[in-house]
């Protein structure tokens, strides 16, 4: 018979990162039957938690081939520039330097996109990037401090999202203040985090489809759960 007490206990122990064998041992020591314990474990692996139903099983490696930066992202900055220019023209202004930036974006963005690779390896989140100066980053899942999924105005209109993870490394400010700022309703400035790949303490993947961003989030969260670090950085 399936016993909820055991199931709850196993759940709470699994969360702490205890192994299956340890949990089984301590339960049997407490006087439970082995098959009761096994049954409880089986019931746990069966149900559909949101993470279990993620399209990619976590043993599979997820890369930019599974969830690519969309081609639309290449045109994101140019489209914004064109819109700003048109609006400005309506009011009788024009910004020539914006139009100079246009071809630069159109050349640079495809190169950046083509040279950006990420993959969810077993222990590390690997990011390789760089057109001229190359950069490789291996981020251990255990040190990820938080996971962000963001959409700005453009993303919202075109159904995109940017995904980022952060750790607590030095240079935390660099990625944060380096990005462009834009005006938001309510009068505050919001950081856009539009840098591609790793910068400062952050790895940012912009221009994903919204559902792809959600899928990567689930994969990463699952990886973080599977790879806890022993020494907690929490101050509490």
């Amino acid at each position: 018979m399936l016993n909820n007490e055991i199931v709850n206990y196993i759940k709470s122990e699994l969360v702490k990162g205890e192994g299956k064998q340890q949990i089984t041992d301590s339960l049997i020591k407490a006087g439970w039957q082995n098959n009761d314990v096994q049954e409880a474990f089986n019931s746990l692996s069966a149900p559909a938690s949101p993470i279990a139903t993620s399209p990619q099983s976590t043993s599979e490696i997820v890369t930019e081939k599974n969830y690519p930066i969309t081609k639309l992202w290449i045109f994101k900055a140019p489209i914004i520039i064109i819109v700003i220019s048109i609006v400005a023209l309506l009011f009788g202004y024009y910004f020539p330097y914006l139009l100079i930036a246009l071809p630069i974006y159109l050349i640079a963005n495809p190169l950046i996109r083509a040279n950006f690779h990420y993959s969810t390896e077993e222990k590390f989140f690997d990011v390789r990037q760089g057109v001229f100066s190359k950069k490789q980053r291996h981020l251990p899942y255990g040190v990820i401090q938080n996971v962000l999924v963001k959409q700005d105005w453009f993303d919202r209109i075109f159904g995109l999202a940017s995904f980022s993870v952060e750790n607590a490394s030095q240079g935390g400010g660099k990625g944060f203040f380096g990005g462009s700022k834009s005006f938001r309703l309510g009068g505050t400035y919001q950081q856009q985090g539009e840098s591609v790949g790793s910068s400062g303490n952050k790895v940012n993947i912009p221009g994903l489809k919204k559902k792809d961003a959600e899928a990567i989030k689930l994969v990463l969260l699952q990886k973080m759960k599977e790879n806890p670090i022993e020494d907690s950085q929490s101050g509490l």
Binding site: I144, Q145, N146, V147, A168, G186, L221, E230, Q233, L236
Partner: protein
């Protein structure tokens, strides 16, 4: 309006007074500015000899504008309130806000650096509390807070967070496995 519901929000609801407070903070500067303009206009018109109808129209315009700003900010804040999502799940804290440009942050309990509750002046007036929880990153400090809950919810959230965090980070505390019933 459909409210983004989660177990945590059901248990520790956002106060509807938050909408009111945010509307006030969002419009206060505009109100003061427009009142100053109105004051200047009145002063100018009383010193001049021309007492035409333009002052009345200007006053009407300024009050109309005030009302319009108030309405827009209020509706935006209602919307913001409706989509404000926070959930303390088994492993992570998920906070999502922003109706137009949504931003969702997920923090593992182990990474919480501190939990604190604060009130600003208007919070004191309305009896609201902000529950902050942050990891070691700057963006979490910006995004990871639950604003505008009343005292019982603030205390409840704080207690629940502290409880979960301390449970999760203490490796020494091994719970006793349940005993089979005889």
């Amino acid at each position: 309006m459909q409210i983004a519901q989660s177990k945590t929000r059901e248990q520790f609801p956002l106060s509807t007074k938050k909408v009111l407070k945010k509307t006030i903070t969002g419009t206060l500067v505009w109100m003061i500015l427009l009142l100053i303009i109105l004051g200047v206009l009145v002063a100018v018109s009383s010193s001049g000899t021309d007492t035409g109808g333009w002052l009345g129209i200007a006053t009407l315009g300024i009050f109309g504008l005030m009302f319009f700003i108030l309405l827009v900010v209020y509706l935006y804040q209602r919307w913001y309130y409706a989509v404000y999502f926070y959930d303390l799940t088994l492993d992570y804290i998920v906070i999502k806000k922003g109706p137009i440009t949504p931003q969702e942050i997920t923090i593992p309990y182990e990474r919480i650096q501190d939990v604190y509750v604060d009130q600003d002046l208007l919070d004191r007036i309305f009896g609201l509390y902000d529950v902050h929880l942050s990891s070691a990153t700057i963006s979490s400090g910006m995004a990871a807070h639950i604003d505008g809950v009343e005292k019982p919810a603030a205390d409840g959230l704080r207690a629940m967070l502290l409880q979960t965090v301390s449970e999760r980070i203490s490796k020494k505390r091994v719970p006793v496995p349940p005993q089979p019933q005889q």
